[in-house]
């Protein structure tokens, strides 16, 4: 949690306060970028861009918004811009199914997915679903905070999050079945 006094000082032109503030948010910015872009170097680049933008735009931050949602809005915008430029979006339509109850659900529930598999599965989600999941689980944001960060209606946030979890669940389910067979 960044101290409001620090933000005020930074906005008032105290450069040292601004740099201190950037140091405080550096890790949370990087974490979002890393899970959105799925690549360390891209995440470092995006984080640099985001921190520089925050440095130049600190004056435009208004207190009525939460500082951390404002920060996340900047970093998610940069990341979305980055992965749109990087690769054409892959359709996830084939995974757009509602849930499937397998015969051996219980046994699958017992086995744990590795973090790596989950990260890969997140990378396969459409950009908005991915962003919502990252904010929910890597920033511990509430529905409202996600809505503020992404400038989306609350219901849209919920529907993205719910669908994202269903897709993840399906993707990881498929992955496991593939792994067993292959």
């Amino acid at each position: 949690m960044v101290e409001p006094a620090l933000i005020k000082a930074a906005q008032a032109g105290d450069r040292e306060a601004l740099v201190t503030l950037l140091r405080e948010i550096e890790n949370q910015v990087y974490r979002t970028a890393y899970y959105l872009l799925n690549n360390e170097q891209d995440a470092l680049d995006a984080s640099q861009d985001a921190l520089i933008r925050i440095y130049t735009k600190i004056g435009s931050y208004e207190e009525k918004a939460q500082f951390r949602t404002w920060v996340q809005r900047i970093v998610t915008n940069i990341c979305i811009d980055k992965f749109r430029r990087k690769k054409p979006s892959v359709s996830i339509d084939e995974h757009e199914m509602v849930f499937q109850a397998g015969d051996n659900v219980e046994t699958e529930v017992l086995s744990a997915y590795a973090a790596e598999e989950i990260r890969e599965a997140i990378g396969k989600l459409p950009e908005h679903h991915r962003t919502v999941v990252v904010l929910r689980y890597l920033q511990d944001f509430s529905y409202n905070e996600i809505a503020d960060s992404l400038n989306l209606p609350l219901n849209t946030v919920k529907s993205y999050l719910f669908r994202a979890r269903q897709q993840l669940q399906t993707l990881l389910h498929d992955y496991q079945k593939g792994g067993v067979r292959g």
């Binding site: 906005q11 032109g13 450069r15 601004l18 740099v19 950037l22 140091r23 550096e26 890790n27 910015v29 990087y30 974490r31 890393y34 899970y35 360390e40 170097q41 891209d42 470092l44 680049d45 984080s47 640099q48 861009d49 921190l51 520089i52 933008r53 440095y55 130049t56 735009k57 600190i58 004056g59 435009s60 430029r85 990087k86 690769k87 509602v98 849930f99 109850a101 659900v105 219980e106 699958e108 529930v109 744990a112 997915y113 973090a115 989950i118 990260r119 999941v133 929910r136 689980y137 890597l138 529905y143 919920k158 999050l161 719910f162 979890r165 269903q166 993840l168 669940q169 990881l172 389910h173």
Partner: protein, 312 residues
């Protein structure tokens, strides 16, 4: 209550968004419906795994790495909202030719760069050697099928300069002989070429030859003045272990082992021209400068132990 409605309740339950009554509604249904019970278990497991994803941290201080840039912004009076426009231009450079080359970059990075360039150049040379030797290749359809391919052609040119540098270090390549012959030809006409560079415009074969120049003259020159010319700059490390090659055009820096000619490290493409390669005396760090389309310079360093690239 339908399973689909329960699905929504389960999703909200996971986020702690249900009141008492909704929770018992959901639980009652799950007691009777094994499919939904299984689904709930899977969603809960997924959610707890998502919560446990590693809280990754950057391997170096990102703020430290941008301090020079912040300093520059501050000095330029761009900081803290006094000049929004200047700030914007740094953060999100407007679409430029450099940006628009990206798809080509991506494509070519996937191919093993140097080998592919060797083949491409070889093909170009074999297809129409006469035109190449005369440097009058603007009408060479094989080399320039359409204006749209110009960025790619430029990419080929810059990759070629890398392979030229490799050749200097005696890489065995089936096209080596051809390249060498070509080098000699270009060498003899060097003065002519540099004169021509100002008027080179979009004639791709000219670019190729200009790009090749530094490998003939041993490298280490200042990059050419005409934005289109893309000479590679090279620098040997003081301990004679590595050669750094700035591949202009796609804006990457590559490090090769001098003994085995193997690519040791290649940087991500930078937004701009890489130059001023300077090794530290102990060969532990390579300093270089990236100059973007607006002429803004950023100082970078590459740590040869960790291959971490940081802005200075």
């Amino acid at each position: 209550m339908k399973c689909q409605e329960v699905m929504e309740l389960m999703q909200r339950y996971i986020d702690g968004d249900l009141d008492q009554q909704e929770t018992s509604l959901m639980m009652e249904h799950a007691d009777r419906c094994s499919d939904c019970a299984a689904m709930l278990a899977r969603l809960q497991k997924l959610s707890s795994e998502l919560e446990q994803l590693p809280r990754v941290v950057p391997k170096f201080s990102i703020v430290d790495s941008i301090l020079p840039e912040l300093e520059r912004l501050h000095a330029a009076g761009a900081a803290i909202g006094t000049s929004e426009a200047a700030g914007d231009s740094v953060v999100t450079p407007s679409p430029s030719p450099v940006r628009s080359n990206r798809p080509a970059r991506q494509l070519f990075r996937k191919i093993s760069g140097v080998v592919a360039a060797g083949v491409v150049v070889g093909l170009l040379l074999f297809t129409n050697p006469g035109e190449w030797l005369q440097r009058g290749g603007s009408s060479n359809d094989a080399a320039m099928p359409s204006p749209a391919s110009a960025p790619m052609a430029k990419q080929e040119a810059s990759l070629f300069s890398a392979s030229g540098a490799m050749e200097d270090a005696q890489v065995q390549d089936q096209h080596g002989d051809v390249l060498r012959n070509k080098s000699e030809t270009a060498d003899s006409g060097e003065a002519d070429i540099s004169e021509g560079s100002a008027g080179a415009k979009n004639m791709m074969p000219e670019e190729v030859e200009i790009a090749q120049n530094p490998t003939l003259t041993g490298g280490g020159e200042e990059p050419g003045v005409s934005g289109l010319a893309v000479p590679a700059e090279t620098a040997d490390s003081p301990n004679d272990k590595w050669i750094a090659v700035a591949v202009e055009g796609n804006g990457t820096l590559q490090i090769y082992g001098i003994e085995n000619n193997e690519l040791v490290y290649g940087t991500e493409p930078k937004e701009g021209r890489i130059g001023l390669l300077v090794w530290s005396a102990d060969s532990a760090v390579l300093n270089f400068t990236v100059t973007d389309a607006d002429g803004n310079e950023t100082q970078w360093q590459l740590d040869m132990t960790t291959f971490a690239e940081t802005k200075r």
